[in-house]
């Protein structure tokens, strides 16, 4: 009984989350075809950084959690673990910086940002 209720609530939540996308599609189809390139560039720029941030956020979370775990098991190795963690975080950060550069390129091309 509880499982059925939770499934129904999850479906409702999913519909509520996806509804704005459907409305945006309808609105965009009604908008003029001239400025739709700018609109799509803006959406693409936002999505680029958003999705990159999603993956990198998960990756960094896993990395830092393992570093904390390793340091808790072996407090003497904290210095080395810290250095490795910083290197890993900088590597992952650079992926989201590439996505930011793509987004900036998109926005600057459409004259939306300087």
């Amino acid at each position: 009984m509880r499982k059925i209720i939770s499934v129904i609530l999850m479906t409702l939540a999913l519909v509520c989350l996806l509804a704005p996308f459907v409305f945006a599609e309808e609105a965009k189809a009604a908008a003029s075809g001239d400025s739709s390139v700018k609109a799509m560039a803006a959406i693409a720029a936002g999505l680029a950084v958003g999705i990159a941030g999603l993956g990198v956020g998960i990756g960094m979370g896993i990395g830092v959690s393992k570093a904390c775990e390793g340091s808790a098991r072996n407090p003497g190795a904290t210095g080395k673990i810290q250095i490795l963690m910083i290197i890993g975080l900088a590597m992952m950060e650079s992926v989201v910086i590439y996505a930011l550069l793509v987004a900036l390129g998109l926005l600057m091309n459409q004259k939306l940002f300087f």
């Binding site: 910083i86 900088a90 950060e93 910086i97 930011l100 550069l101 900036l104 300087f114």
Partner: protein, 231 residues
Amino acid sequence: MAAGMHEVLLMDAIVDPSKIPHNVTYAVLASVILITTALVIRRSLRMVPTGVQNVMESVVETFLKLTEENMGHHWGRTLFPLIGTLFMFILICNFMGLIPGFASPTSNINTNAAMAIPVFLATHYYGIKVHGIKYINHFLGPIRSIFALPLMLLMFIIEFIGHLVRPITLSVRLFGNMLAKHILLGVLAMLTPWIIPTLILALGTLIGLIQALVFVLLTTLYLAGAVEEGH
């Protein structure tokens, strides 16, 4: 960046920005700062270090330990000047971007490429110098017999692309970080009360230090991979 494309910077008083761009003049300024500091310390060297000499000695010790740990004693000593200079230069350049009235030369991709491409060339130069023609073995993967020729070709292509990407990723990582920090500071200074850009300045200091460290660490690891005597 917030008010328009042309901000008024300190070096405009000395050199016209349309003839010599900002990244060149500020890079020259960073070099002058480093050389002056080195000469001043050299004139008054003491056996028991104090003050600025202490700081410089600790930096030098850290990087000497890093290079010797990764590259062995002989190559660590030889390549240590490159590593140390890169770190100090990138650090000073990154921190210069935080001061109002200055611009960081590393927020222009030309400066970063000018640092990353010699590193790339140096890895291959030292690799060939140490290994001779057998340097190709580094590209061919784990199995090196005539029966594994398709695997060797595939590994060669993949390693080739991986090696070509290295200078690009080194320079773009530094460029992206510095540019993002600059834009973020500009936009937030325009929009929000003064406490928030101050926090971003603190974050920017940390990011500048970490990015300089990552550039130099990666350089060390690439060079160590090229000159290693293993396999």
